[in-house]
Amino acid sequence: MNAVILSGLLGVVMLFASFLFQTKEPVRITAIAGTLLLLIANVLESKGIHFFSINTSGFLNFGYYSLFFNSIAIFATLIFFLISSKDMQKVGGHYAEYFALIFFILTGIFLVTSFTNLLMLFIGIEIISIPLYILTGAAKKDLKSNEAALKYFLMGSFSTGIMLMGITLIYGATGTFDIDKMNLVALEKSHLITAGLFMLLFSMCFKVSIAPFHFWTPDVYDGAPNVFTSFMATIVKVGIFIGFIHLFNTAFDKVTIQWKVWMAVMAALTLFIGNITAVFQQSVKRMLAYSSISQAGFMLFALVAMNATSYEGLIIYSLAYCLATIGVFGVISKMTDYSFEGFNGLAKHQPLVALCVTICMLSLAGIPLSAGFLAKFYMLKALIETGGYLWLVIFGVIMAAVSAYYYFRLIQAMYFKEGPNNFTQIAAGEKYVLVAICILIVFVGVFPNIIFNWLYF
């Protein structure tokens, strides 16, 4: 509960910060300090120290797993602020408000990761979505940003409508919104349950951009301002994934309706569409949008497998994916031209930055000794442990090989081609953060046990 209340409060504080401070720098420092405070409060809560004693039974349950994920989400946000918060100034004049909206989104993520009631799932997803619509359209004069915002808004509220219908049908059959209390196994012959389950499944797939519900993703991620794409493609996406796995593991795991087969097919389709389309992209930003679709396909393996390994794997995956993508986007938002040609010869002009992008790319592609390799390894391991779905494992490995093509294309452009300098400039502090991200990626890739030690002890 610490983090939920504190991040809501921090959002309000940031709203007032735009009145209190005349310049931008104090606003930024306040936001970063606030995120640090949030991280400390959340870690303290996972150690058993609660600032607020509020009875949330039946609505929210702050288990250790969700608290641990929240810590990762806050940590990723902190890194995101450190590396990209200066670039937010380029988006528009409402600097403090962007931070406020991000804190509100974090509140939503905390609700989604720890809900036990479908009401809280709905509220959490809406608290995430509505500020995201605003952030997507934050560059008001930019037509692409307008278009992305409108598209995201229409698609997002449409999927919310479908999700609500699913929740309602399940309520009609069970008479409760509490996912621990609804006894779906006794009622599973009811058509209401089947229809409700699939509506929930499809709308959640919509939110995390699983094919065939992914079509909004490339346009929205491409049109949104770079810094906010970085946030919504990483932290928001993995946050909703944790809610997704929680929902289907608790409420629907025992029913005999064959949703896992559907999910396996959708995972395969997502991997195929995401990877194959990413190969043909000319813009690095759009390539990363498709790559985020394909990474979501890998994360869906956890939901197909639904065992202890998949929970561990999802934690590692979210950390690896967030770190690498935030790092790459941090560099992209400092480029004037972010097509593949724009990256030509970056290694000559900015050797350190190019090295960091390379490490992030290797991690996204899943090369050994990086966190991304372990993430993919855990996903495949979880799937193999179930005994079935061997075709999906093989398909996943093939698709991971395909993904190496477009990640390496960027590395090739940076190191083996000549080009003008499209890199504006990077502050020394941001450079250190970029290096720290890379060190962390390698560190987690070499010593994953440290993460799991935190998870279990």
Binding site: Y133, E147, L150, F153, L154, S157, F158, G161, I162, G175
Partner: protein, 108 residues
């Protein structure tokens, strides 16, 4: 009245909303169709709430959580309207149109 009538009515409204979202090209009308979907859900929730209220012994609290949910949907829908209309107005200022066929600049 049997619950079937309510379910049929709500599903009809919901389907009209879905078909409207998929076929209409005016952003405001698409938006109204989304609201229609949400309100169909509201209607169904209240009907189910009453059904569970009677089925579970008609004490004061049984089945009320469905009605509680309706209020949350209303609040969220209002928040969505305010943000959504703002986005549509922003779009209109730049393009002087709210036809969503204009939404194809991103598809190079």
């Amino acid at each position: 009245m049997p619950i079937n009538y309510y379910i049929t009515l709500a599903l009809c409204l919901f389907s009209i909303g879905v078909v409207g979202v998929l076929t209409r090209r005016n952003a405001i009308i698409v938006f109204m169709c989304i609201e229609l979907m949400l309100n169909a859900v509201n209607l169904l929730l209240v009907a189910f709430s009453k059904m569970h209220h009677i089925a579970k012994g008609a004490t004061a609290v049984t089945g009320t959580d469905g009605q509680l949910f309706v209020f949350f949907i209303m609040v969220v829908a209002a928040a969505e309207v305010s943000v959504g209309l703002a986005i549509i107005v922003m779009m209109y200022r730049n393009v002087h149109s709210i036809n969503i066929n204009f939404l194809n600049r991103l598809k190079h």
